[in-house]
Structure formats: structure tokens, C-alpha cells
């Protein structure tokens, strides 16, 4: 058991699905200081207007993506007192309803975990080198940058 304040970190970029309970256990086992755990799951949804989404492909820049996620987690721990972060981003071919990303944050009180979750997801969307390509019955198209997501970064200035 650790008694220091060094937060636990786990960053994983992989094809396989994740188990949210496993990640919660990783963050809360033997750390009785944890009083709050916030989790976020991003999923493949079908918002295409006239054409049905068949699947999505996620590409990344391996040498950079893990480093960016690690740096963002580090920034979050400097800004909020956190007990741990587990962040898993899936890559490859994913079908509607499948999970894309999991973020689990543990802290002493809930506010830190909620705020840090929003912060991390906002920056992940704009700064982590991942790209989504959607294939519908009419063809394939790269997902375009969401301007609203971009503006959300302003709230952290």
C-alpha cells in the first residue's frame, strides 16, 4: 500500500475493448483515500443523416498519441488533486454501439474528478492525434473537426 500522493496513471491505446470495473478496481484498490470515481465512456453512434453508419475506423500517430495523453494527464494532476487516472483509447475498426474511449478518474472529493474529466476529454479531442473515418452505405468520409469542441478549450484558460 502506498501512502504518498503520487497519483496512479494508466494510458492504453489498443484495439481491444475495456472493462470499466477493472479500471475502477485498479484505481481504488488499496487506496482508501479515494472518495470519488468519475468515469466517461465515448461510443460509436450513428448521426449520419441519410446514410446508415456501417463502421468507423480510428487511426492514430503511435509515436505521438501516447505522449500527448500522458502530458494531458500530467497537466490534470497539476491542476487538481487526483488519486489516479485510467485512460483507454481504442483504435481500428469499430461498429455502432461499440466503445471508443474510457476515462476513469479517482479523487478524494467528487468535484476534482468531474472537472478533470471534462478538462481531459476537451483536450483529448483537440490535441491527441487520432482520426475517425466513417463508412456508411454510400461511402467513406473522414470525420471533420467539431468547432464546438474547439471552443470548449477556452473554458480552461
Amino acid at each position: 500500500m502506498t501512502s504518498d500522493h503520487v497519483p496512479k496513471f494508466k494510458i492504453d491505446i489498443r484495439k481491444e475493448n475495456f472493462d470499466i470495473n477493472l479500471e475502477m478496481k485498479y484505481l481504488t484498490d488499496v487506496n482508501l483515500k479515494v472518495g470519488a470515481v468519475v468515469s466517461f465512456v465515448g461510443k460509436v453512434r450513428d448521426l449520419s443523416k441519410n446514410s446508415k453508419l456501417k463502421f468507423m475506423e480510428i487511426e492514430h500517430y503511435p509515436e505521438m498519441s501516447e505522449k500527448v495523453l500522458r502530458d494531458l494527464c500530467k497537466k490534470a494532476t497539476l491542476r487538481w488533486e487526483l488519486q489516479g487516472i485510467s485512460l483507454i483509447h481504442r483504435i481500428g475498426k469499430l461498429y455502432p454501439g461499440e466503445n471508443i474511449v474510457l476515462l476513469v478518474i479517482a479523487s478524494v472529493h467528487r468535484e476534482e474528478a468531474f472537472d478533470a474529466s471534462l478538462f481531459l476529454m476537451d483536450f483529448l479531442k483537440s490535441e491527441a492525434p487520432f482520426w475517425k473515418k466513417e463508412t456508411t452505405i454510400t461511402g467513406s468520409i473522414w470525420v471533420e473537426e467539431n468547432q464546438v469542441d474547439k471552443q470548449k478549450l477556452l473554458r480552461w484558460q
Binding site: 482520426w131 473537426e145 467539431n146
Partner: protein, 82 residues
Amino acid sequence: MNLLYFASLRECIGVSSENYITDQKTISGLIDELVKREPRYEKAFKNLPMIKVAIDHELIADLETSIVGVSEIAFFPPMTGG
């Protein structure tokens, strides 16, 4: 140096990476040189404000950033992860 292309840029240029030797000193100089090479590069870099650049895994905002001595430059569209 090694040039990398991702997502729509990779599809447009047709390769994911290539070794490239240049006398150019900045990103903008390099892009100008690439664009003159072949139409596929011209097409890929057409919408320049939408292109993101990372030098040795570090995102850069200024196209006048020096590329002297760097080993890897990546070009890609805005990120859409999460």
C-alpha cells in the same frame, strides 16, 4: 528526415511516410517545396490553415518554425479522436 502523413493527407499523397532530404529551413519552405513536386502534394496541402504539423512528436503552431536538424515531421488534418 522522415515525413509522415496521416488520415486524409495520407490518402491524398498515397504514402504514410517517406525519407526526404531538403535544404529548406522552415515548415513553410518545406511545404512550398512539396507542393511544387507533384499534384498530389498540391492537393493535400491545398487547405493550408486546416493542416496540423508536428515536429519530432511536438505539435507546432507557427509554420516558420525551423526544421534544421529535426528527424521527423508529421502532417495531418485536425484531430477527431475521443
